[in-house]
Amino acid sequence: MLFGALVNLTGPWQIAYALGATLVGIMIGLLPGLSATLGIALFTTLTVRMQPTDAILVLVCVYVGAIYGGSRTSILLNIPGTAANAAACLDGNQLALQGKAGRAMGIATTGSVAGSLFGVLCLAAFTPVLAEFALKFGAFEFFWLGLLGVLMSGTLTGSEPIKGWLMGLLGLFVAGIGQDPVHAYDRFTFGWHDLSGGIPLIPALVGAFGFAEVLMVMSAPVQRAVTESVDSILPKLRDVVQYWRTILRSGLIGVFIGILPGVGEDMAAWSSYAAARRASREREQFGKGSVEGLIAAETGDNAAVPGAMIPALALGIPGSAPAAVLMAAMIIHGAQPGPMLMTTQPQFMFDVVAITLVATIAILVFGLIMVRPILWVLRVPREVLMPIVFVLCVLGAYSISQRLFDVWVMMGVGVVCFFLRRRGYPVAPFVLGLVLGDIVDKTLRRGLVLSDGSLLPFFTRPLSAALALIVAIVLLSQVPAARRLWQRLTGSQDIARP
């Protein structure tokens, strides 16, 4: 099935789509402010009329390309192109300052390709296993999983978890506006007919990540100059051989963190970086231009990309914000991610594996031949770029349903998210809430109906109890009194990001 999927991707159009989408993804990643989530959301609207496999090919290539492309900006500007590349700033920019920008980009390519390949293997191996295991899940377990995704995302993005949780709750609430999925009763529509269909997901995401970002970029300080000198960008086999343990460890960490609902690529990069520093013989070099540090960060975040697709495909619970949008796009194109996927559409999983493999090959190609030409994007003044991005946001919001109402939603969500982000509220939990709102709503009510109003099954079924315990730990770990008690009992210290 995997071979068949790969063969289907060797047509001239498919190769053109893969290369074009990866290139655009790299450019989106390169530009600080434009995120993988925005790229996928915009391209979801553009690919609505394409064949489902071709559309998913474009979206996965944009996703993989954006996460890879963001490392360029980290190295050259010391500004992460996407949140996932923040850890790469530490050593990548130091290498650039030492006149080794090209070498740093070669290392980033090595780490990204290795991490992505490792993630693809795990995607192929673990998705069927997890999907089969998830057949044991009922409404009670899916409720906890949905809630866990939103809470984890809230805990790990931003500096104050409570703000992340509030954004997650807001996302869950906004997802519930419109006709309720059980009785078709209008909720919070205030008689506005357009709202009966709910807040449209993709326009809301384009607003949250696109228009809000345009406003953020336009109100930020002036751009910094790009490093002009770039030495050899060829990735070296020696790096793979010398740091194979780091690559393997970071790949494992990346995939594991990718699988955790709602955590995402940035945490995978930080965790891989921290683990590499702890295990390294040259740890004093970390933060001063360590090759190992850069490899660890880039392997971790790229391995998390296929990792985040595993729960999205097997459970219908995405591992990160970009994976949430990708999952929504898959649903638009007729796929039904969840435990039944391997029973009803097994070929789709193999298609996604093959597509991610093709995207990985594409970033290797562009990493080798297109580093210097692509860098011109960074020199486009933001005064010119941002109005164009705004026009794309407007068309992206409009194109799915051809309603001006969707454009208004994009504008409204964008303005609200802009002000919230300035106050330190992260947007990723809001996205997870929007995507998971339907699952949380339906499963809580279905579970209560099944148990005749009793909350006991939510806590007494073995799997449900385990998930409830994890949710409780996630919440309690942020309560200072509970943390102090835990530290007193175990004698452990607080763990902070490096």
């Binding site: 609207t45 509030l166 609430f173 009763y185 919070f188 164009i388 409009y398 001006l404």
Partner: protein, 148 residues
């Protein structure tokens, strides 16, 4: 205002709205599947977390937000608002988009421009027209999207 109070007010409003929502008893539905149940719970959680945020000591990690250039922000919101609420649907999309890009780029480049102003206006006009035409063509003819 303490951060968090706004959330508490929103949470309370959502809870009240959910409480007052029809429970569809006339349709004889299961009471636990009432449409207001989940929004009610979410509203209560927002209220609790909002109050917790309001009474929590201000985190040392959270830097105060950088000051906003209100005039610039108002200008961008004004231009984008005019584009979305007035121009869209009333004139050809390419014309509206070109006008938006022209006004936006020119306004923000005007004071910092080192080149002669006439050249700047011409350059911005070319950028606006080319960008608007390329985007319109791409969406309409390549991606087969109907433009507003």
């Amino acid at each position: 205002m303490r951060p968090g109070l706004g959330w508490a007010v929103l949470g309370a409003a959502v809870s009240i709205g959910a409480w007052r929502m029809d429970r569809l008893e006339s349709l004889n539905i299961e009471p636990w599947s009432a449409p207001g149940l989940v929004p009610g719970v979410l509203g209560l959680l927002m209220l609790v977390f909002g109050l917790a945020l309001a009474i929590a000591p201000v985190s040392a990690e959270s830097d105060p937000p950088a000051p906003i250039a209100w005039l610039k922000l108002a200008g961008i919101l004004g231009i984008t608002g005019l584009f979305v609420f007035v121009a869209l649907g009333r004139m050809p999309f390419a014309v509206a988009a070109a006008a938006l890009i022209f006004v936006w780029v020119l306004t923000l480049s005007w004071s910092a421009a080192s080149a002669p102003r006439t050249r700047l206006v011409l350059r911005v006009a070319v950028i606006a027209v080319v960008a608007a035409l390329v985007i319109s063509h791409l969406f309409q003819d390549v991606f087969l999207v109907r433009l507003p």
